[in-house]
């Protein structure tokens, strides 16, 4: 505990120090993501020297490495990073906005809305590529608006939003299962992708749409970041500070759903990443700074690490969603137990 800052100069100096510490934390997180990315590129079933990886990335054709790096590892690593960024960022927006860690897109219908729509458009409508993403984003948005509409009564209360969302999620989840069950030609692996999320079979053509979605919706979020921070202090306080609460909320929902929906359309619903990223980031950053970018980076690190674990560190290969699900479930229990102990409602 430092002594109180008796002068405004000391306070400003210490604030600058906090800011640089925040930047350092961001740097370390980015470094961690980069390290995991590099690990995915270099070490899989076989080891490929970093120099070879770089040569392949520079466009050189290396015997026995070009296919492995360029077609298998690179798309997988890139999709993992981008999907992780999207899940992390989209998730934390909902958690901040509804002031509740349980308000993750996993629970409030968005992920499953996007997933059900993606499965429907692939299996029933025989679509593929960007149209699937668009359908998924739109469906995620519709699911969010449906939950929002059903939960809104004299303003939107966090707990009601979450409970309605859980109900809608359950319905959408069964829709997904039903379509998959009645789709004859689906392999188990493909089915799993839409139930737990997977980056198996990631292609380089998936990268650009995901990058575009991240830039577009992330950019929208950037314009609303200060209003989002103000919303954390309650709707009344935010309004008193000049935030157009209803409009800001809609823009934030569009941005967050866009991020979640686009990522889900490519990888399926990678379990719990959007649920875990925010709280972990908040722990790392502490009370001061914004958790948006840290949550995005934690999301990317979670997907990369979970995928790597599922691929290479266990006796059997598992899709990424199984591993992230295993990480997320205990945390969910912990949250519920803690909330119960505090004796407060959600």
């Amino acid at each position: 505990m430092t002594a109180p800052a008796h002068s405004i100069e000391t306070l400003a100096a210490r604030r600058r120090r906090r800011t640089s510490r925040h930047r350092l934390t961001l740097g370390i997180l980015a470094g961690l993501v980069f390290a995991l990315f590099t690990l995915t590129m270099v070490l899989g079933q076989s080891y490929t020297p970093l120099t070879t990886v770089i040569r392949v990335l520079m466009g050189e054709n290396v015997e026995g490495a070009s296919f492995l790096i360029g077609t298998l590892r690179l798309p997988r690593a890139l999709v993992s990073v981008l999907a992780g960024l999207c899940f992390g960022l989209g998730g934390v927006v909902f958690q901040i906005m509804l002031r509740n860690p349980l308000a993750s897109p996993d629970f409030i219908g968005i992920t499953w809305g996007a997933s059900a729509a993606a499965v429907f458009s692939i299996v029933v409508l025989s679509l593929s590529g960007p149209p699937v993403s668009i359908v998924a984003v739109v469906a995620g948005l519709l699911a969010a608006l449906l939950v929002y509409g059903l939960a809104a009564r004299n303003g939107v209360a966090g707990a009601r939003f979450i409970l309605v969302g859980i109900g809608i999620s359950a319905m959408l989840r069964s829709v997904t299962s039903y379509i998959l069950a009645s789709a004859p030609a689906w392999s188990l692996q493909d089915a799993l992708r839409w139930l737990t999320g997977s980056v198996n079979g990631a292609q380089i053509s998936d990268v650009l749409p995901l990058l575009l979605a991240f830039t577009l919706f992330g950019g929208l979020l950037f314009t609303q970041r200060r209003d989002l921070e103000a919303l954390r202090m309650g709707d009344d306080t935010a309004a008193a500070l000049g935030v157009k609460v209803a409009r800001t909320r809609i823009l934030l929902i569009i941005a967050a759903v866009g991020l979640i929906g686009s990522a889900t359309a490519i990888t399926g619903p990678i379990a719990f990443v959007s649920f875990l990223a925010g709280p972990i980031a908040a722990r790392i950053v502490g009370g001061g700074g914004s958790v948006l970018i840290p949550a995005a980076l934690v999301g990317a690190a979670l997907v990369l690490a979970s995928d790597y674990t599922g691929q290479f560190l266990l006796p059997t290969r598992y899709p990424v969603g199984v591993i992230s699900g295993v990480l997320g479930a205990p945390y969910l229990l912990y949250l519920i137990v803690r909330i119960n102990r505090k004796g407060r409602s959600l």
């Binding site: 405004i8 004299n154 314009t223 008193a240 500070l241 009370g287």
Partner: protein, 279 residues
């Protein structure tokens, strides 16, 4: 002579929640540069009035005018630079430091990309000093006592640097010493900067003690308004609260104080006349 301060007034205002109308064609002029205290029984519309005056609630009829212009048609951000509000139960984000919270009061003054300016810095400095929260600046808000926390919220509202400040029951849940501390702070602010203060208070005596202008609401209308001496009378207390009382004079401040008369504990010779005190 024109007054440079912003003028807030309410004309023929009706507002409520859903079907339930709480304010009924209420008129109120807020004297600029003064402290106005709104009192009234529960459900008399105190908070509804303050919420409508700060645009948290839209009126069903009538207007809230700031310098003659409806606040419900003023851009939100522009309004937030003139009119500040401390709501009844603001939420401190988990783990946030006092300094960071107070800095958020600068929100309406900052653009999308604008960085922190000298002016922002000075506003925060003034807010922290005025509320004596500089020493708390680096502590997490959730660790503070109720009184300290309320001072921090006031500091955030001060950092917003508005000419008018509305406060919704700022002394609720505070010990009496902290209640007085917050109200003294409002007087300091009013004296030092000429800030127009409008507060809803639950405690009649504190209201009469600190108000320049006291407004008593009943049934969604202004029952009576004016100086505390004019407003706080035995008649007002009877018609606003349905309570028999005696009004004395506070020997320290010269302001009226209300002493309730219950049904018990009266000394001999203080019996009420037949029928008095019962409705």
């Amino acid at each position: 002579m024109t007054d440079p301060r912003h003028i807030l007034s309410v004309t023929q205002l009706s507002a409520g929640y859903g079907e339930i109308e709480i304010l009924k064609t209420l008129d109120l002029d807020v004297p600029p540069g003064k402290i106005t205290v709104i009192v009234g029984a529960n459900a008399s519309g105190k908070s509804t009035l303050l919420r409508t005056m700060s645009r948290l609630l839209s009126p069903t009829a009538g207007q809230v005018l700031l310098d003659g212009k409806s606040i419900h048609h003023t851009p939100t951000r522009e309004l937030a630079r003139k009119l500040g509000l401390l709501p009844q139960s603001p939420i401190a984000p988990e783990g946030i430091l006092v300094d960071d919270l107070v800095r958020r009061g600068r929100h309406p003054h900052r653009g999308l990309l604008s960085s922190w300016t000298r002016k922002d810095e000075e506003a925060v400095e003034h807010a922290l000093t005025a509320t004596r929260t500089l020493d708390l600046a680096e502590r997490p808000v959730d660790e503070l006592s109720g009184g300290q926390r309320q001072r921090v919220w006031v500091a955030m509202a001060l950092a917003q640097q508005t000419d008018i400040l509305l406060l919704d029951e700022p002394t609720t849940f505070l010990d009496i010493n902290h209640q007085v501390e917050i109200l003294d702070l409002m007087v300091d602010l009013n004296r030092a900067r000429g800030t127009t203060v409008v507060m809803v208070l639950h405690d009649l005596n504190l209201g009469a003690r600190y108000a320049d202008h006291l407004v008593a609401l009943a049934g969604g209308k202004v029952h009576v308004s004016g100086t505390p001496e004019d407003v706080l009378t035995e008649d007002t207390v009877r018609s606003v609260f349905g309570l028999e009382s005696r009004i004395l004079t506070d020997p320290t401040s010269g302001r009226p104080i209300m002493v309730p008369i219950g049904r018990h504990g009266m000394l001999d010779g203080h019996r009420l006349a037949e029928g008095e005190g019962h409705e």
